[in-house]
Symmetry: C2
Subunit: 299 residues, 2 copies
């Protein structure tokens, strides 16, 4: 079933405890689309500059991503730089150049307006809402956010929360948004702010989904060598929403399998820089990892 993603495409400079890469293809929508492509053909709304490489566009097309909504604007593509501490959990932003994303006015192509499943990848909540309102009758809308927007655009974020079905966020963001230290209480607090579903990610400690009728918790896939955690959250979201779009419903069983798909997909992402690992995986390899994860978590 139709899956739409609105978010960023970027060139990242990444420093890890052991390595460094410049101008790696990145961005929330990029990771989401590549990760969801094994489950559903995603439709992409985003903007890049005239410096966006043909081979990067081709990578998306080869992955069956619909790029009709990918705008090319005069100027440079968004760039971001980050450095990870040895614990892999602490990330410092080195620089953020919004470039063409600064004045991005999202336009959802007519051919995308019937999208049933929508993912609003990390971006300013006002941009996320503006894009969402162009979709005619979405059935299930999930948004991501980050501490920056909780800090500087809380009113816009609260308005967005009234218009979405699910919010996906990490432990730090959940505590910041709700003021609750306990993550179960934080998730319950999010459910009073608009969304009917909350997906709370805990990095290497897994993730849980909570709604009025479902509470499902899953450990992370046991990755023994993390190379670059950038994009893991968006890859999780890609597998999660991809599986939901593939199933075409949000039954409790689908949501549980979607959590497994998201967890398995994200585990490939962290094994390589940029899209090096996740971008090279076949559908069969992703399915095999899902089965491996099911084996690890099944009582």
């Amino acid at each position: 079933m139709s899956l739409l993603c609105i978010g960023t495409l970027a060139y990242d400079t990444i420093e890890t405890p052991t390595d460094r890469r410049e101008r790696s293809l990145g961005g929330s929508a990029t990771y989401f689309c590549v990760a969801s492509a094994s489950f559903a053909k995603p439709r992409l709304v985003g903007v890049v500059g005239t410096d966006f490489a043909d081979e990067d566009r081709q990578l998306l097309i080869d992955k069956q991503v619909d790029v009709e909504g990918l705008e090319v604007a005069e100027g440079e593509t968004f760039t971001w730089g980050g450095r990870y501490e040895a614990d892999w959990n602490t990330r410092h932003t080195l620089f953020t150049n919004l470039n063409v994303f600064e004045h991005f006015d999202p336009k959802v192509p007519d051919s995308y307006k019937d999208s049933r499943f929508v993912f609003l990848a990390n971006a300013h909540p006002a941009i996320q809402l503006k894009a969402l309102l162009q979709v005619e009758k979405p059935e299930f809308v999930v948004a991501d956010t980050m501490n920056l927007w909780i800090d500087i655009a809380l009113d816009d974020l609260k308005a967005l929360l009234q218009n979405i079905d699910g919010l996906i966020l990490n432990d730090e963001e959940a505590r910041m948004l709700t003021g609750e230290a306990n993550l179960i209480l934080a998730a319950k607090a999010v459910l009073t702010m608009g969304p009917k579903y909350v997906i709370l990610k805990k990095g290497e400690h897994g993730a849980f989904l909570m709604s009025e009728n479902v509470h499902f918790s899953l450990p992370a896939f046991p990755v023994t060598q993390v190379v670059d955690p950038t994009g893991a959250g968006d890859s999780f979201a890609g597998g999660f929403m991809g599986e939901i779009a593939r199933a075409g419903n949000i039954e409790p069983g689908t949501l549980r399998r979607a959590m497994v798909a998201g967890t398995a997909t994200a585990s490939f992402c962290v094994q390589g820089f940029s899209l090096e690992d996740i971008g090279s995986r076949t559908d069969a390899q992703i399915e095999a990892r899902i089965q491996q994860l099911l084996e690890i978590v099944t009582v």
Copy 2:
């Protein structure tokens, strides 16, 4: 089937961010026996002083713990004091008075020598081994340890590891024992040191079990209000070994269910000071929590 536990009985002084208790009944064997009592009638080997209260002995007897191996020695019972930081994960030891435990020479009663399942609760590894060697033909022996013994009695601990089937330890201890930061690699390293099974506990992030033929990972039960984490690890071990003793085998399916039993049991422990919560639970309440946890983790 017969389950034997060797470990400490203590009076604890506990300071949490919100409360304080003096001379609460504690100790590794105490928590283990109370937690395992819903699954199997545990046999206890330990020592207390002449100050050990009749009501505390009665609590163990009421829980169907076999106290034939509980020695009363001239002097005071082991006392321990600890303080928890606001994050609940950081614990400072305020004092440790071994008292009668200092010269404890464990004696396994003849009636216990046919025990099939043995848990060596946290104690000096030389004492753990001395007790173990008195058991005739144990089928499955699991030991707990702590950073103190890794630090000051590593050779004794390594000798113990050659004589047990499973080691249960937390994330910090696993990293300290093996030098591996990644917990999967740390668990694999433990498996090269003697034990065929390693159970690695991650506190609020759950636990996993690893052996050559089983890898099972489980999130923690979602507790919304932690009152006192003391004894959670021993309670986990109690539920884990209790379920194995109840089943009478170590088939992969039993080990998985044992992890669920341990997780559910530990979740009661942290909800109250000392044995206040876990000591008051009925078998039906424990079974209900196991079912609740299964609901949360089943895909």
